[in-house]
């Protein structure tokens, strides 16, 4: 939380809607541990990281849905996914990501 907290606070202060994606579980080897976070605002700006860069763009899309609906989503990314070519982790691991709107 520490790495994105300040940025989130700045975005909230100017009235942005903020969505937070958090790694909640990892299997085999994963680039970032549970608790790692990425923040996305409704202008499409992104801060922080939840992987080595391979699932971030997919999570930005999910964040858009969550921002609009307010309903959180639990997503799994990794080589066992159908869209492995798009969002496979280079390390062969798998991560669960929780995407939710940040309540001010």
């Amino acid at each position: 939380m520490r790495d994105v907290a300040e940025q989130v606070e700045r975005w909230l202060a100017r009235g942005d809607t903020v969505v937070i994606a958090t790694v909640v579980d990892t299997r085999r080897s994963a680039p970032r541990p549970p608790g790692a976070k990425m923040a996305v605002n409704d202008r499409g700006e992104v801060f922080g990281a939840i992987s080595g860069g391979c699932v971030e763009s997919s999570v930005v899309e999910v964040a858009g849905q969550v921002a609009a609906s307010g309903v959180p989503q639990l997503r799994t990314y990794g080589i066992s996914d159908d869209d492995a070519w798009d969002v496979g982790l280079p390390c062969g691991g798998e991560i669960d990501v929780w995407v939710e709107r940040f309540e001010p």
Partner: protein
């Protein structure tokens, strides 16, 4: 203010908290926040699930680890470990900078007030121009998550730190110096009544064996050693495991 925002504020101010979120089922998105003083904020609309959330939070807030527990995710923030650097020397400026980058809380301490200045150590949380015992008292003593690096080369200062450190239970004690300086230090400490077993608690010469050249690399070798100590590793090569 939401439990989430309280959690974010605590993360920014080096606080300690555990935020439990329900990930699946009809209560998905509900939250319970536990802070260091034991107080709770928010709640989960199911007594049994809330009790499990509370129990997991109580455990992980002190284990300092974020973890999924079935349908619950426990997110933990905790203050970085304290690194007390004795000796306002050049190594200390690099060590405090790198330590801060890695999320540690470095303090620089030296009784020589013209060295122990804020300008020389902008990345330290505090720069204390004080003798070791006074500085340690001011910082609330040495606890199990305190790491101590002794870099002064001045026996008057070094010995005072090491005697205070050995009388308590820091996570790590490291001291700089050549083989000859180590030997002289051993003899002085033994003369002060320190046992051979206690001398073994001092990591000296300080740092991992990186062949470090220059103050920056030496600082990295020291930080690498305290990181390995924190995680219970000895700092070898991963491919050789």
């Amino acid at each position: 203010m939401s439990a989430q925002r309280t959690f974010a504020r605590l993360a920014r101010s080096d606080g300690r908290a555990a935020l439990v979120t329900v990930l699946t089922g009809p209560l998905a998105g509900e939250r319970l926040l536990l802070t260091a003083d034991g107080s709770l904020e928010g709640g989960i609309g199911d007594a049994e699930l809330e009790a499990r959330a509370h129990e997991a939070a109580r455990e992980l807030i002190w284990a300092e680890r974020s973890e999924r527990r079935g349908e619950l995710f426990v997110d933990v923030v905790a203050p970085g470990p304290r690194l007390l650097i004795f000796g306002a020397v050049e190594y200390a400026s690099h060590l405090s900078r790198y330590a801060r980058l890695a999320g540690w809380r470095p303090y620089v301490i030296d009784p020589r007030a013209h060295f122990a200045t804020r300008e020389r150590f902008p990345d330290a949380l505090e720069v204390l121009a004080a003798w070791p015992r006074e500085a340690i008292a001011k910082l609330g003593g040495i606890d199990r998550s305190t790491y101590i690096a002794v870099l002064t080369h001045d026996p008057k200062i070094d010995d005072e730190v090491l005697l205070a450190a050995l009388a308590s239970t820091p996570a790590y004690i490291g001291a700089m110096g050549s083989k000859r300086a180590q030997q002289a230090r051993r003899e002085r400490l033994l003369a002060h009544g320190v046992s051979e077993a206690d001398l073994e608690r001092i990591s000296a010469p300080i740092g991992l064996d990186l062949g470090a050249v220059g103050a920056e690399e030496v600082a990295i070798s020291i930080l690498a050693e305290v990181i390995a100590q924190r995680h219970g590793h000895d700092g070898g090569r991963r491919w050789q495991r």
